[in-house]
Symmetry: D2
Subunit: 355 residues, 4 copies
Amino acid sequence: MAGSSYGTLFKLTTFGESHGTAIGGIIEGLPAHVEIDVNLVQQELDRRKPGQSSLTTPRKESDEVQILSGIFEGKTTGSPIGFIIPNANAKSEDYVHMKDAFRPSHADFTYQQKYGHRDYRGGGRSSARETACRVVAGAMAKQVLSTIGIEFSTYVSQVGTIAFNNKEFFALTDIEATPVRCPDLTVAQQMIARIEEIKGLGDSIGGTVQCIINGVPVGLGEPVFDKLHAELGKVMLSINAVKGFEIGSGFSSLGMTGSEHNDVFLPNGQTKTNFSGGIQGGISNGMPIDFRVAFKPVATIMQDQDSVDQHGNEITIEGKGRHDACVLPRAVPIVEAMAAIVLLDFYLRHKAIHL
Amino acid sequence: MAGSSYGTLFKLTTFGESHGTAIGGIIEGLPAHVEIDVNLVQQELDRRKPGQSSLTTPRKESDEVQILSGIFEGKTTGSPIGFIIPNANAKSEDYVHMKDAFRPSHADFTYQQKYGHRDYRGGGRSSARETACRVVAGAMAKQVLSTIGIEFSTYVSQVGTIAFNNKEFFALTDIEATPVRCPDLTVAQQMIARIEEIKGLGDSIGGTVQCIINGVPVGLGEPVFDKLHAELGKVMLSINAVKGFEIGSGFSSLGMTGSEHNDVFLPNGQTKTNFSGGIQGGISNGMPIDFRVAFKPVATIMQDQDSVDQHGNEITIEGKGRHDACVLPRAVPIVEAMAAIVLLDFYLRHKAIHL
Amino acid sequence: MAGSSYGTLFKLTTFGESHGTAIGGIIEGLPAHVEIDVNLVQQELDRRKPGQSSLTTPRKESDEVQILSGIFEGKTTGSPIGFIIPNANAKSEDYVHMKDAFRPSHADFTYQQKYGHRDYRGGGRSSARETACRVVAGAMAKQVLSTIGIEFSTYVSQVGTIAFNNKEFFALTDIEATPVRCPDLTVAQQMIARIEEIKGLGDSIGGTVQCIINGVPVGLGEPVFDKLHAELGKVMLSINAVKGFEIGSGFSSLGMTGSEHNDVFLPNGQTKTNFSGGIQGGISNGMPIDFRVAFKPVATIMQDQDSVDQHGNEITIEGKGRHDACVLPRAVPIVEAMAAIVLLDFYLRHKAIHL
Amino acid sequence: MAGSSYGTLFKLTTFGESHGTAIGGIIEGLPAHVEIDVNLVQQELDRRKPGQSSLTTPRKESDEVQILSGIFEGKTTGSPIGFIIPNANAKSEDYVHMKDAFRPSHADFTYQQKYGHRDYRGGGRSSARETACRVVAGAMAKQVLSTIGIEFSTYVSQVGTIAFNNKEFFALTDIEATPVRCPDLTVAQQMIARIEEIKGLGDSIGGTVQCIINGVPVGLGEPVFDKLHAELGKVMLSINAVKGFEIGSGFSSLGMTGSEHNDVFLPNGQTKTNFSGGIQGGISNGMPIDFRVAFKPVATIMQDQDSVDQHGNEITIEGKGRHDACVLPRAVPIVEAMAAIVLLDFYLRHKAIHL
């Protein structure tokens, strides 16, 4: 229960530090005898990798996944899938000056205090590089879910205060049309301009990712603690830089009354409105699942900052190197991957309800 | 993994339906040889019970907890604590007319579809009555945490659009000063007036609960998946009617840049600001933990509503009976209980990091 | 993970001490919409209860189970089943003289050292009374398994050195024909005579329980750690007084060579011999599952014994009161219950292997 | 819960097939800030590897472990330890003729039936090669346990019917004195002669491994289900070819009465005898832990055998290739590794009992 595993029947365990030999993981519970296209897995990794556009960090990482087990002749065997993603040849010495430094709003301080010993290079285990492993597992889960009709539409719905509030299911091509991954071209251009502006200042900015899931059968979710939206919330909040989560109407329900907010049933079991976000009582109701995730402005900025080191000395953290002024575009495949992991796990768990 | 258990080392498992014989649970992992005051547990239950003020449902339930094991001569033995809360003599026949009905935005439909068979009386397992068991476990956890200096301040910070945004640690007496459990008397009066107004309309209204936790030692939280705020988010989202969660700055971080949002360290390891909400990289940093939970307007209203039944027939759900126009005041002890359960579990887990 | 839960998808959590208010438990994951006959559950409890024959302790306990939730109108709802078995009005004062005593080969010493505080009355949590809760869950699991053709034959195969080595599937009526629960009448009489002899000496004696399970489908078991026989071994070893476990040929395989021991396949997938005990590579192969459990002579005897107390003083434990000279007959329903719990859990887990 | 993970706080998850790219695993929960000597890990692997003596299969595998994460500057960081052991360049085509064959008493049949698709090369996932990963985790656990005084003595105590029943704690040098790993030179010579004889016949033979653990503190074990010996039993039974397990007196207790079998306490809390095997009520009592594991004669033999294939055709399995006539010598480090994994996990779990 040391924290690097997620899932009950479909389970991912990850390892690896930002500048170690490799990161990787083990995927358990992927159903047997299912075809997996490793190229599709790599494509998802490519959507997450640094250096893919002018909006993201220019740091180059190839992020090539190597599958070591569990897939034989193109199909799953039901045995665990081990995989690694080698780390590119990072110059560890670049980080020696950071050995004792506590960067503001990073995890340097808490890791040092908790463990007493840490790999300080590039954030070590606390680096968002770890999320690449989630993308691998999510990409496989999506392939399995696709065979039962579950599809995802995940996109950037806000950058700073520039918001796109249209909660529709957009096609992947619309989302990929711009590097910011917002399907509305007009809003996307505003977002891109804002990110470029912030980047020019050496600063950073946050935003939200919207996820819509279609085709979810009725019945997924395990009350009372493992409600479907509770698990979705947990995994989203476990992604680096996430500060908030809302399902369906979320915080905006505060401005409504019950008579306005209740989703009236149609005779076919669907509902006229979907303020519930596709989940009632913690169980999917067959309507689209709809949630939103808030990412803070990331802590790494290209400005000098006052801080302290491990010995309590006041230091200056220099704003040099490479960074993402806004991680939202690269967060899209991570959010989608985690959603897929949750959905597949609950799909398998639901099957255990009946003989 | 059927969903009615929470926790790894400190664990609560609950059972029971709204109108069955009793609800109850088993608490595992409460440290041995600790004094537990059962009266304090009952006091927390009394803060959650219906009928405690004119703001809440007039339904009377005594909600008396009976401890069946695990506490001997006033102290924990390290063995599991079994407990029950008998259900008052509910008239089941009152619910026969609801047997086939699907109430809007309740879990009638999803439970029927998922399980194929359900106890329809008063919501059965999906009733918020189940949260009384959480309050029992939380009240014990709070007593244990208090011995190591961890203290909670939980209160209503918003009702509808009436907000109190002062994130301070308020004393219990300030919170209990009004039945709405908002520590600011002026805002509390506005909230009460609004709830009375909504109640008069037979409608319902939502709001937020704010929780501040002081005295949390540095180091609680288990990255990468079991980050402290991720688990807090999960358990809050598992409470009936919750639609959103945010830690620290949360959604309001969207209006800030990284240079504004970063929490600058002081030489003593504390930070000048606390936008992180007391957690960095998923691990507590010693600053107050601060999160906010959004509750939708509850689905039960005293107005007639169109709906369908199990056979697809259109029906009218009559708005009669008893209800809470606003559950926020009664949600306060539930939020606090769940926070205490998470904190104690992570406290115990953290100890396993070192020999 | 405090030790009072067993199972992954079908899960039992128990609580309760020998002389507390009640023992009980929560059963999660029993499939929904299944008829459960509570009378059959009570019948299994009656097979375990003390005082049922001259062979067992004359201590009278009614052991009546009360179901508190999860079964509605005779059928499971998929929600957790809470149950209690009230403890009869035990005179706690009878045990005050035992407060500080460490009885030889009991758990008094280890519980005191581990927890620092214990309910010393009648063994408290370490009493075999706890196994009544296992019988409740097992009796429900057996009803479910019966609908898919899985049946159990469990009997006493050895008392002291008197052995019955015929590993056949015997009918319940044959097993229940004598109070010793050995289906061979001749051997049963020898066993009974031996137990009466040992009882006359105020001593105790051990033995083995044999379990044969027919109708197990091919495929149950989750390598590499959760092999079917590994879990069967664990749960059997978790029963009070158990010292050994063997699957199929077990320890007797040491006298064979591989060419003798290998189970040759028939064209229909069955095997000519069944030294494997129905499990190969940790997965059921469709042949009868066959295992044997060794119980030591129980520690409670009616003879005076030297011992020490909590303060290191030498004391004499007086051999008075009531005891089972041989627990084997009462162990039969416990072994069968635990086997059923394991089988149902693995049946549900196996379903998750395929979409 | 797919079966390839073991442990709660100290946890090992493994992956890999016999003839895939690599096997490997993730170790979670190894305490932070502890020095780990990777050479000692490699030494344990060398004790398990094939080809180490004339008694074992001449198949050459280098079995070199590569640590990918979690150890930084020679010390654990508290983050998961990922590792791989590349498979030597096996000729997959050697196994094509085995594609459809079901070898007697192997897992070919059950894997095919359970998963519908399998890596048939050399047993794939069901190969004992997987146990190398257990040795890696166990070797690290032993280093940690050594710092708190827990030491292991594990050796071959029986080969076929040649038994060495002296349950003492022998030094590693005594155990390693002969390739059969029995510390008594006379018995060892008999065992070696017997194995050579069986090898000459192209047959196989079983035996037992004895494990003695000294220095275990009082208090390890989590009743009622996770009793220390129950978990030891489970993990031993999860090792390939194991058919039986006994703790302390085990099956030999059947020949004793309670008055003979009870372990009388000394004033210092130790016991005069140790029929309990160091565990009472599922909790370690400070005496040496002593258990015995029975391995069947392995299924691979160098004789032709009748069998069937996947299509129900009768075939002959040819007895060619390489095999261990007796796996007991190589089983010693595996048994010891699994015991160490269990002990460290329970050590960490025990700490959670008190604040």
